[in-house]
């Protein structure tokens, strides 16, 4: 059963460039990018117990730094990427110190407020960020001299990065540090009494989540070749949070499924339904009320029940 599932997943990841048209290959790329973003958020939400409504900050900041360095200052993509990620990580470290002064709802409000500040800056500092016009005409890098401008080549690039990201985050979560993170999520007082430093564990996780958020931001700006303040908005953070919760936080598969679902609805629904945000809001309500633990745990419960049922 397990091998079948793995085979299906492998097939759905490897086949698109061979079988599907450009539109679907691009969609698949977008799904993978959203998946990395959702997985990075889930490190905080699901495994760390810290619900953030400002994760888009890391995606947006990395994207903007890369966009500015390459288009305005003529930096090569390699160096631009390094500076973007370094800047994003530094910002995550600072934001983490501020946000971790609180927990629970206070933490949520602070992350929301911080990301709104960034959004406001991106919007208003037009001479730097071009404000509401965004920064267009960007280029994609050519890793090892290989062009990734075609949908298929870009897809392979994203797939490799996504696989690596998934692997790294999966190891992180199952490592000793990951276990201590989950422990701090569930029983912070007990963990402190056992010798763990809850604040430091949370802060490091916050930074690591910001790192992968930044990576997804780079992929995002490479894909779109354009960046706009909306990518930093609360809506962007909220879509990621919806994906994580809809798919099932606290698992590795959940955020991937959730991000895919959100993206697919966004792409298809917007063809039929003009007001995409309203639909998103209704989906939020539905999922929270009806399926609070998410799709992946729900489905695995269902398959377990089916397997247990007498033939």
């Amino acid at each position: 059963m397990k091998w079948f599932a793995i085979a299906v997943i492998a097939a759905s990841l490897l086949l698109p460039p061979f079988l599907a048209g450009d539109f679907y290959i691009n969609l698949a790329s977008q799904i993978l990018i959203a998946a990395i973003f959702a997985l990075s958020l889930n490190l905080l939400v699901g495994f760390g117990g810290m619900t953030s409504l400002g994760h888009a900050s890391y995606l947006g900041v990395a994207a903007y730094i890369s966009a500015l360095l390459t288009s305005r200052y003529g930096l090569g993509h390699g160096s631009a990427a390094v500076v973007s990620i370094a800047g994003t990580v530094a910002m995550a470290a600072i934001f983490g110190v501020i946000a971790l002064r609180a927990t629970g709802l206070g933490f949520l409000m602070i992350t929301l407020a911080l990301s709104q500040v960034l959004w406001g800056l991106a919007y208003r500092m037009s001479n730097v960020t071009n404000g509401d016009n965004g920064i267009a005409g960007l280029t994609r890098p050519a890793p090892f001299g290989i062009s990734i401008n075609s949908p298929a080549s870009f897809y392979w690039f994203v797939l490799i990065v996504a696989a690596f990201a998934f692997l790294m985050m999966a190891i992180f979560v199952s490592s000793a540090f990951g276990s201590s993170l989950k422990g701090v999520r569930d029983q912070p007082r007990r963990m402190a009494a056992l010798g763990f430093n809850p604040w430091l564990i949370r802060w490091i996780t916050f930074i690591y989540a910001g790192f992968w958020g930044g990576v997804s931001g780079l992929l995002y700006v490479y894909y779109h070749k354009y960046i706009h303040p909306t990518s930093l908005s609360t809506t962007s953070s909220a879509e990621a949070l919806l994906g994580v919760i809809a798919g099932g936080s606290g698992t590795m598969g959940g955020p991937v499924v959730g991000a895919a679902v959100v993206l697919l609805i966004k792409n298809y629904a917007s063809a039929y339904v003009e007001r995409w945000n309203m639909l998103l809001g209704l989906v939020f309500l539905f999922i929270v009320l009806v399926m609070p633990t998410g799709i992946v745990p729900g489905v695995s419960r269902l398959t377990a029940a089916i397997r247990r049922a007498p033939p």
Binding site: I171, F172, S174, S175, A176, F177, G178, S179, S180, G183, D186, Q187, R189, R190, M191, A192, A193, L194, G195, F196, N197, P198, Y208
Partner: protein, 251 residues
Amino acid sequence: MTAAASNLALEVINLKKAFGGLAVTQDVSLAVRPGERRLIIGPNGAGKTTLFNQISGDLRPNSGLIRLFGFDITQLPPYRRAHAGLSRTYQIITLFATDTLEHNVALGLLGLRSSRWQMWRPMSLYSDLAAEARRALDAVGLLHLAAHPISDIAYGERRRVELAVALAQKPRVLLLDEPLAGLSNTERSTVKSLIASIPRETTVIMIEHDMDTALDLAETVTLLNYGRVIVDGGRDAVIADELTREVYLGT
């Protein structure tokens, strides 16, 4: 009771704590020698758990000093006290319900090791950690349940796991907060014999609210009431003391 200060396992000096107008710890002083078995008793609301919370660092006293083997820990956060050799169990069980017994104990072991910062190796690969966790479970008679989640096992067994987790760290001072609470008679004698078999390298300080249950485990007894030390000394002396009868007959 005068002893050379640095020879004491745990020293509490003039501890005071008040919540607004309510004084919960009033000038409490304790001197516990290494290897001692101390029982802290007192009626409900006497401030026993509050005292423990200040010793473990969950609560900050308003004034006073706490020393662990001569080392001033009054300003240290809880996790640093663990590294200094302090361990505790709780009145309310705070284990990780969805994790296995083995994982719970392994976490306890991890808390003092530098490997707790490792992010690039799955924890399941730490075979020595798992082996030591199983040994700790065996010592409390729960090895056969090692792979079960905590939510599966009985209350008395969970108390034993709490003990295993605390003992796994080989603490120098162990604080047991009502370790026998809510146990049936058979469970109670199991846990009592476990406590009795704790090696002398660990100093044990226990809270019990019911005087009779843990008396035979104690060598010295401290009686608290309204946040104050009323009587303090050898077990038999405290039992015989007038003041002890007053406090307990009065409730």
